[in-house]
Amino acid sequence: MNKVRERSHFGDLLLWLMRRRSRFLVRGESMSPLFRDGDVVLANLGAYRAHSPQIGDVVIARHPYQTNEIIIKRIAAIDDEGRYELRGENPLESTDSRSFGAVSPALILGRVTCRL
């Protein structure tokens, strides 16, 4: 599990300047209390080129049924077929793998590294 940092370091911003990190604006409360509505996070969209996502990673993923929607969730489990169970931090306000099922690795776009 790669821990998400609550604050960015100077290095994170340098990586962002070098286009190694992308900024995302969080909308909704499904990742509360880790991220609140309006928080901006940095994600490494190349994180899973070298290795696959791990349980506990907070990831940016494509919604399996609303393909123009990008979601932020935590990986809760990996099933026998290598698909990822995604969960919000706040189960009461999250639509996640509990309703849309486990998602294929192709839908995981990157790993969230820190809050900006």
């Binding site: 604050r7 960015s8 370091h9 100077f10 911003l13 340098l14 962002w16 300047l17 992308s22 900024r23 995302f24 604006l25 969080v26 909308r27 909704g28 409360e29 499904s30 990742m31 509360s32 991220f35 509505d37 901006v40 996070v41 940016i60 919604h63 049924y65 929607e69 990008i70 979601i71 932020i72 969730k73 919000g88 306000e93 999250s94 639509t95 309703s99 849309f100 099922g101 900006l116």
Partner: protein, 158 residues
């Protein structure tokens, strides 16, 4: 608040892509109870229509009262059958997802039949169709709460 990183303010000049951390619906609140209440109203109105006594056709006052009551019952039955169908469609298309269908392969068939029964109850004055509709709504109630790992007992308001 003072920013620790001078670069941080620079990042704010660039727009960030939105990532969604919310639920599908504006509230995510679904409950087959809304279908059940409308379906129960259809059952009740069907029974009331059938129980209405037809007055002497020569008694104008009694006839007017009868037709008035009958029209009201029919109107309510029409409305409630339509509401039941709408509520079913919302559950079917918004709440239920492909993984649910994998687990309950009969799901589409149950919903399709239930929606058809709403129409049948609207068109006809048929107690048997009403009972079939209630049976279908009960099945949906059971599957719905099973998908949420909750045991919610089936009950009727009427």
């Amino acid at each position: 608040m003072m920013s620790m990183n001078p670069l941080e303010s620079v990042t704010k000049l660039f727009s960030a892509e939105v990532v969604s951390a919310h639920c599908d619906g504006p509230c995510g609140i679904y409950d087959p109870a809304s279908t059940r209440i409308a379906a129960e109203a259809v059952v009740s109105m069907t029974k009331k229509i059938l129980a209405l006594e037809v007055p002497d056709v020569n008694n104008a006052k009694a006839m007017a009262a009868y037709l008035n009551t009958l029209s009201r019952y029919v109107k309510i039955k029409e409305e409630q059958a339509h509401i039941a169908k709408t509520e079913l469609l919302v559950l079917w298309t918004d709440y239920f997802k492909p993984p649910h269908v994998e687990k309950y392969p009969q799901l589409h068939d149950i919903f399709w039949k239930a929606a058809k029964l709403c129409s049948a109850c609207k068109v006809e004055v048929n107690v048997e169709k009403c009972e079939e509709l209630m049976k279908a709504v009960k099945e949906i109630h059971e599957i719905f709460w099973a998908t949420k790992d909750r045991k919610i007992e089936w009950y009727l308001a009427g």
